[in-house]
Symmetry: C2
Subunit: 233 residues, 2 copies
DNA sequence: ACTAAAAACTGAAATTTTGCAGTTTTTTAT
DNA sequence: ATAAAAAACTGCAAAATTTCAGTTTTTAGT
C-alpha cells in the first residue's frame, strides 16, 4: 500500500467474507474483527499488497479484479495469475511468513476489506471451524495458481496464450467477449514470452478467425479451435 | 497405491509428524489416530498417490525422496517438484477436493505413514491448534511448489536447469555432490524441455567446469557461475 | 556371461522464439 | 486541441529449442 488509497465510506454489511466468517464467531468476536477491518478503494494500477513488505492484513476483494505479480532477482516482472472478486487474497502468507511472497495490483478499480491478521489469528486459534474455512480458501487459491503455472511452465506460447484467453473468458470475465485491462506487456509477463510474441500470436488468432481482436476488446469466436490449441500446447 | 506396497513391521514410535501432532491431542485421540495409520514401504518408481484417485489418506514421508508429477490432457507427464523426507504430503487435497490433483511417486525406496483423512479431519474439527499446524505444513509446501514453478515458467532452459541443480543440491541432497535417481527423461519433464536439451545443457555445464557429470553422479564445482546462470535466466 | 531393451548421447536441420529497429496508433497532460 | 509520451504493431535477422535419425552405453533378465 504505497500510493495512499482512498478511505471508503462504504456500507460493509454485505460482504461475502464477513457472512462466511460470521457463522463461526460469537457476536463479540465478530464485532472485534469488524472494528479491525479497513474499507478501502484502489485505483487501477495501484499496489494493494507489495512483495517483500510486512504482511499485516488479509484482504477480502469485494469488487474489481487484481493480478498477482512476482518480481525476480533481475527485476523482471511476472504475472502469476489474475483473480476476480469476490475472493480472499493474501492467505498464502498467513501462517508461515511475515513478508509478502508477491505483489497484488489492481487491474481495475477495486473495493477491498483489509482484515487485521493478528486479530484474525487470535480468533482462529480459538475456533477450528474458522480455521478449516480458511484452509479451504487458501488451498483453493493455491491450487488455481499451480494449475495456471503448470500450463505456463510446460506448453508452447500458442498453448499458453490459448490457456490465458480461456481462463480470462471463463473465470475472470465470464463472457465470450471481454475488454481486458492488461496491457500487451502485462500479457507477455503472464504468458512468459516477449511482447512481440503476444502481439503476433493474438493477431494470428484474429486472422485465423479464432478470436476477434479490436485493441483491448477480445471476443472468442471459435472455442473448438482454441481448445485444440490449448490441448496441443 | 496400485502396486501392492509391502506392509512394514516398523517401529513407529519415532515419527516427526506424530511428535508434532501429539502436542495437540489427548492420549485417546492420539491413540485413535495411531490406530488408523498404516506403515508402508514403497520401492523406487512406485506410485504412492495417483492423480485422479480418491484421496483417502494424508501421507507422512518418513524416509526416501519423492517426485510430484502431473499428467496433462495429452498424456504428457510433468514433474512439479521433488520432495525430501521428513515431510507431509497430500495436504493440498485435504480440505477442498476428493480427488488427487497430481501423483506422488517414489524416486528412491521410501517409508511412509498413511493417516486416515477422515479421522484426521474429525480431530482437526475439535482442535484449532492442530488446524493451524496443518495450515502451516500446507502453505509451506504450496509456496515451495509455486516458487519452483515460477522459476520454471519464466526462465530459459539454462536458467531452469541451473535452478533445478541448485534446488536438488541445497534442499534435496544437501551436498555439492549427489547421485540423482531421476532419469534424463524425468529431468526433462522437470525442466519443461526436451531430453536432448537436458543432455546438451548438462554436458555443456560439464565442459565449462560448472559441474562434474559422471552418468547419474553430479558434483557442483562452480557455485558462482551456476548462480549467475540461474540469475540471468 | 550374453542378449535384448532401455537410457544416454550426438549432430544437424527445422521450427519457435526473441530482440531489434522503425512505424503507427492510442493515451495523457497541458 | 495539440504535443509528447506510451503502447501497439510490423518484419526480419539472430538465438534458442525441438525434432529426427542414428550411435553408444547402461541396465535387466535369463
Amino acid at each position: 500500500m504505497n500510493q495512499e488509497p482512498n478511505k471508503m465510506p462504504s456500507d460493509c454489511s454485505f460482504c461475502l467474507f464477513k457472512m462466511v466468517v460470521r457463522q463461526y464467531l460469537s457476536e463479540d468476536d465478530f464485532t472485534q474483527l469488524y472494528q479491525n477491518t479497513l474499507q478501502l478503494r484502489f485505483k487501477k494500477g495501484e499496489h494493494i499488497l507489495k512483495q517483500g513488505n510486512i504482511f499485516t492484513h488479509i484482504i477480502f476483494l469485494k469488487s474489481g479484479r487484481v493480478k498477482f505479480n512476482f518480481e525476480d532477482e533481475t527485476g523482471r516482472n511476472l504475472v502469476l495469475t489474475v483473480v476476480n472478486s469476490p475472493n480472499l487474497l493474501g492467505g498464502a502468507n498467513m501462517f508461515n511468513e511475515d513478508l509478502n511472497l508477491f505483489s497484488i495490483t489492481a487491474i481495475e478499480d477495486c473495493e477491498v476489506c483489509l482484515i487485521d491478521i493478528n486479530v484474525l489469528k487470535r480468533l482462529v486459534m480459538q475456533n477450528a471451524g474458522l480455521a478449516i474455512k480458511l484452509l479451504e480458501f487458501v488451498t483453493t487459491m493455491f491450487k488455481d495458481s499451480i494449475l495456471n503455472l503448470v500450463s505456463l511452465a510446460h506448453k508452447h506460447v500458442n498453448g499458453r496464450i490459448a490457456d490465458i484467453l480461456i481462463y480470462l473468458s471463463r473465470k475472470i470475465y465470464k463472457s465470450d467477449c471481454f475488454t481486458i485491462t492488461l496491457s500487451r506487456k502485462e500479457l507477455a509477463e503472464y504468458a512468459g514470452c516477449s511482447q512481440e510474441n503476444i502481439i503476433h500470436t493474438l493477431s494470428r488468432f484474429d486472422k485465423e478467425g479464432i478470436i476477434s481482436l479490436k485493441a483491448k476488446k477480445i471476443e472468442i469466436l471459435d472455442w473448438h479451435k482454441l481448445n485444440e490449441i490449448s490441448r496441443k500446447g
